[in-house]
Symmetry: C2
Subunit: 756 residues, 2 copies
């Protein structure tokens, strides 16, 4: 294997991330970085043999359970990884003995994680151990591990214990209560259930020993069934242990245990499973890969980010969506934010549209929760949760609790005030429809989302009779450094844009699917009065925009706040909020993440008001220097990269793009241990495609007005648009036209000009 290069923190080939030294200080961030998954579950890169303070975790989409303060969280599932090797009485563990070789590799091409180790035990026996694992991309209920054991300098007894640990932890909390466990002809099984949400899990495991004679023993410590084998190892002779695990939950089937044990009984061997996994990955990459030439670091790191999205997007379940930290960490407790629709969705929309559809359908399934939230706050329609989980109810914690006995608790206001999400989701639903032409989904799901969320705005706006304008008061905009503002430009304009689309969708529905229109009118109490109220709001909503300079004020009074020169804080390694305090940032012109610039970005694709080149320049010049791009929000850098690229600031675009690209590979915000930055990964794709690739969507499909960064000689990718694939192979100094390559297989999508 030939490495292509190395960055500050890692080595890579075209497809493989390599770590050649184990650093205990990076234990938790590397557990995140080496996550594997298959769109059904994600498993962190923790060691098979354990390590002090390790935080092994497997998260399954939709498997939430109650927890105080944050209401609900993805339950860490029983751990399928334990594979303990005991060499002549010494348990293999990296904190004891001597590590003579260490090489951990994540193969993005096939989702395969492996470790090559040479270890000298405390008693002086040297052994080569090669671990390998994958979560099958071909069958999402199958997990596989393999371990090659080769004594280097001894003959002796080797014991291998392969188990399922039914005591997984969410920061110490075990969501699972034991139901049962047992043995089968094939091995062991475990049945557990979440304490409150009562989701049952059934897991089965077998273990096979190749290359020696050895029998298996089953030990059944309650909650920790284990298969054990002991054999007489010979120097230089390799013995292989294969452990296969199957897993179902009651979200999949009524009888998870028998589903798991039955599947286990009929599985082929490890090599065959691995081959099927590789074929499935081939298909995924054929659609989603981006090839970059001339910048091997970026080429690898872009693939790394796309890999994170591919293992997180649900392929067979439309009642789940992707949490902010994907399925790779405890951060934000598996809650789902606008991150999914605005940052991650475009990647799926243009390369895996079936997954995009699943992600948006989740919002349709959770409309009842959004309606409960609206009713609780005294509004109408659907008010989407700022943080959403299984039901769509609001699960943003109310409090940041102080662990100090006498410290004050901090009230978190996002659940009450960060309402722009109610336009963001309709924005994504509209774009899905525009891009795929999926009328079937639009009439069944999308229209209801867009219309019921519009009804919310109708009840949320206030008419200011003095101004003769509609206002939206008391919100948090995209920028979360200002926690109680009036007429945030992003929120007001997005609400207006949303209401415009709601009217278009209603008209289209009434024209094309009159029965569904009538059904929704009744269900949502959607009257002609309501729609003319929308028209009135569209016409009269306040938007703080100077038509002369094109400058937009982020919210009322922003320009009057104290100005802060961010350059004075160069070299800091904390957010401006941490440095200045919450109270102070509320009073200053310093922003956490692009807000006006985010609005311009979202309006850019369709060149909608207030987007134009002059507006972009004027507002970039004002807001970019006031944005805490390094330590504010990780949502910022990719958006800045695209806009800087638009403005011809190539060097700046690339610099800030690299910040986004490396956020987890280099842990440059120090919180990769909490999980992968999913929105950043999605932003990376958008920066490459829309920024450097310069993709614009025309009546005839996507067109590339590309401007590649210095050094990039080639940028090759595919986009799916209205039922057809469009191939792009962009080379420096060469204009490449698009061509339609192949139709998506079994496509349900038709080209369709939405009714206007």
């Amino acid at each position: 294997m030939q490495t292509k290069g190395h960055s500050r923190n890692f080595i890579y080939t075209d497809w493989i991330l390599i770590e050649t030294q184990f650093d205990p200080d990076q234990l938790h961030s590397k557990e995140t970085v080496f996550t594997i998954g298959n769109g059904y579950l994600g498993t962190k890169g923790s060691f098979e043999e354990g390590y002090p303070h390790a935080l092994p975790a497997t998260f399954i989409h939709g498997v939430y359970d109650d927890v105080p303060v944050v209401y609900t969280e993805l339950a860490n599932c029983p751990d399928w990884l334990p594979l303990v090797v005991i060499v002549n009485g010494d348990r293999f563990r990296l904190d004891q003995g001597e590590i003579l070789r260490y090489d951990r590799q994540l193969d993005l091409r096939y989702g395969l994680l492996s470790r090559y180790l040479r270890w000298r035990s405390p008693s002086g026996n040297t052994i080569d151990i090669h671990f390998e694992r994958f979560a099958s991309f071909a069958d999402q209920h199958v997990l596989a591990q393999r371990c090659h054991l080769t004594p280097v300098d001894f003959d002796g007894l080797i014991e291998v214990q392969g188990g399922i640990n039914g005591y997984p932890e969410n920061q110490g909390f075990n969501h699972w209560e034991g139901l049962d466990q047992g043995k089968t002809d094939q091995g062991i099984w475990l049945q557990r259930r979440t304490r409150h949400s009562r989701i049952e899990i059934g897991m089965g495991a077998t273990m096979k020993i190749l290359g020696t004679e050895a029998s298996l023993q089953v030990s059944t410590a309650p909650g920790y069934p284990t298969l054990t084998t002991t054999y007489l190892a010979k120097s230089k002779q390799t013995v292989t242990v294969e452990k296969i695990v199957t897993l179902f939950t009651s979200r999949d089937t009524e009888t998870p245990v028998s589903a798991a044990t039955e599947k286990l009984a009929h599985l082929p061997d490890y090599a065959t499973l691995l081959k099927a996994n590789e074929q499935a990955w081939d298909e995924a990459w054929q659609q989603s890969d981006i090839l970059i030439e001339g910048d091997s670091t970026a080429a690898f790191a872009v693939r790394y980010n796309l890999f994170q999205l591919l293992i997180a997007g649900s392929r067979h379940d439309d009642k789940v969506s992707i949490p902010a930290k994907t399925l790779s960490g405890f951060g934000y407790r598996g809650h789902i934010f606008w991150d999914t629709e605005i940052f991650m969705l475009p990647f799926f929309l243009f390369t895996q549209p079936a997954i995009a559809r699943n992600l948006l359908s989740y919002r349709w399934h959770t409309l009842p929760g959004a309606r409960r939230k609206a009713a609780h706050y005294g509004y109408k329609g659907a008010m989407f949760a700022w943080e959403s989980a299984d039901t769509g109810d609001e699960v943003t914690p109310r409090w940041g609790l102080n662990s100090d006995f006498y410290g004050e608790d901090v009230r978190i206001w996002c659940r009450d005030r960060e309402i722009h999400i109610n336009a963001d989701i309709p924005y994504a639903a509209w774009n899905y429809w525009q891009t795929t032409g999926d009328d079937e989904w639009m009439q069944q799901c999308g229209a209801e989302i867009i219309l019921d969320a519009a009804i919310f705005w109708g009840s949320r706006v206030e008419f200011n009779s003095e101004r003769q304008q509609y206002e939206i008061r008391g919100v948090i905009g995209v920028d979360e450094y200002h926690e109680f503002v009036h007429n945030n430009a992003f929120t007001n304009r997005m609400a207006q844009w949303h209401l415009q689309r709601a009217i278009a969708v209603y008209d289209w529905l009434a024209h094309k699917f009159p029965e569904r229109a009538t059904e929704l009118e009744q269900k949502l109490k959607l009257t002609p009065q309501e729609r003319s109220h929308w028209q009135d709001i569209i016409a009269k909503i306040l938007f703080l925009h100077d038509p002369l300079t094109e400058q937009i004020e982020q919210f009322e009074g922003f320009f009057q706040l104290e100005d802060i020169n961010l350059a004075d804080y160069q070299g800091r390694d904390h957010s401006m909020q941490a440095i200045l305090s919450i109270e102070k940032t509320n009073k200053c012109q310093v922003i956490k993440q692009p807000d006006i610039l985010m609005l311009l970005y979202l309006m850019r694709e369709s060149a909608d008001f207030p987007y134009n080149q002059k507006a972009l320049q004027a507002n970039w010049d004002y807001y970019a220097p006031r944005t805490d791009i390094t330590y504010g929000s990780s949502l910022g850098p990719a958006v800045h990269a695209i806009l800087a690229s638009d403005l011809g600031k190539s060097a700046e675009a690339y610099e800030v793009f690299m910040q986004a690209l490396m956020v987890d590979l280099e842990d440059n915000r120090g919180n990769t241990s909490d999980g992968i930055h999913g929105a950043t990964a999605g932003g990376v794709w958008q920066a490459v495609i829309f920024g450097f690739g310069g993709i614009q969507l025309t009546e005839n499909g996507p067109v590339a007005n590309f401007h590649l960064p210095d050094g990039w000689t080639r940028l090759k990718f595919k986009l799916h648009w209205r039922g057809k694939w469009h191939d792009f192979d962009l080379r420096k100094g060469q204009v490449t036209s698009l061509r339609s390559e192949f139709k998506i297989q079994n496509s349900k999508f038709k080209i369709n000009d939405p009714y206007k």
Copy 2:
């Protein structure tokens, strides 16, 4: 064994609690009821083989760890109980197969818990199983289990797994991280550490098989070391399994694991351990037993309550105290309240004075936390925590969090306002001194508690220049239904009483221990001005008392609140606060627990102001009918029993006494699953001794003006007072004089008239 009788929910002999049927609905309350312990740890009565939703728990004094919202809690320790029996492949468990006999017994005399079972396995094999366990009262680091197995109708394979479960849970949370585990010649060991407080635990276990040939296997699932034996069982032949566990923490020794394994290596057999345990219990009961004749239910139940106190009081550690729910439940998270000093302490003070001394020394050791609390709230001196744990810092939760997505959180104000505890602890310290004459402790610990807590009052009172009186505003009194009141009579009078004692203690110290007096003057900044400030407060503190009628107003404006007729709510099974809402009870003359009556009770012993017979009658008549005695606070009934007895209301006294007596045995408040009501157990002792026994403390020692309830023919107990034991053997219709019986062994206490 001859049973003496049975109550609604249980059967008993003189000393043994018997349960003859297993009711899964009472799983958790019975786990509490069958708790065993030895003053070092408590272990709930969960089954050796487990049960769905069982909550096995072992709590060790002082082993706290961090937890959100409630700051810290007693960490449930690794479970030493697992003893799994597999009969021809069927795991013995009460939720499968058939229970042909069930008999659980708690022998209070020796702290021995046993279960006799006849069980038919799903495959039809019938077996007699007899479990037994105790936590040695002779050596607090030793825990022992025994199991007799006798096949009734089959020969076959029996497997027994004895383990230590390193995954214990506090409501799902596991406070322990794994450090290491392993095998010894004797068996297995486990080393774990609390996550935040970093308290290490070391446990060892051995297992012995008697009556058959069988070898032991060690299996080492990570965190769950297990000893397994399999043997060929013969019909009607008994095989005995003995499992001995040793346990140390880093609070006891620097090397808990080696302490545990070394102790294990040198232990005698189960029978010898059991004998030593019995001897230790003999000694304890010799001092603390109460014999009642003529009312076998009360006789047994009183012993049951005393047992709960005996297993909870720390005999060898003066840095811990007894939590509100003793060491028997998760309720109140192992936090320590005034319950200990005011309700539980008298039992120890008069029957186990060395334990009383430990309990009060805990408050001395935690003075630094009380000082931090005072400083945080802007006061001087020591402000004791309403809820206290390892450091003495305030650990009352700020919030009762609503698990509903949209429900409001409830602010809990006790940490800020329920300050009467700052006089309650000095009250107990003074009484300890008066009762024991322990000058050594008083000069070293007690004086500092009393003086520094008095300094707090000096800074807390406010002088009302209009009234020319001192006030204490904005408090919660004993009655917690009123959350923001001014000049609560209990608080004001107790503060005054405390300041009076503080002056006496200072004068005594200056006279008898002038060096210590100087030391404390400097350390506490205790000036002559401060002491004359105390005199001024004593003279001028507001106390809402009508000298004519002797009626006392609970706080300013109480008599103006809306009156509620509690009789109208007869038959309810919720507290009045739950029925009326927090807001409403705040505005009504309905109280959670005796407040004025509690004050009268505390002043009764020394017949201090405002206690006299007329005051008692007047205030009883007013307040008793307005007190939510059934579902308000469990602190109420015992106090009402004593005062009713004083007032000659014998029937009423007995009725309310029985409420207290049966609170856990009959689970009559429905929350025994949270743990034993420790304060009620202490109140039971006080009701028997001070109420029915009519004990009054005179210059010459305790005197009994007893008035036994109907049916009681004899009441016999001992009291330790000023270095001597006083025996009481009270018989109906017969005046029994006291006599001094024997001196406490190795007594450090001298008779001492404190300086006045």
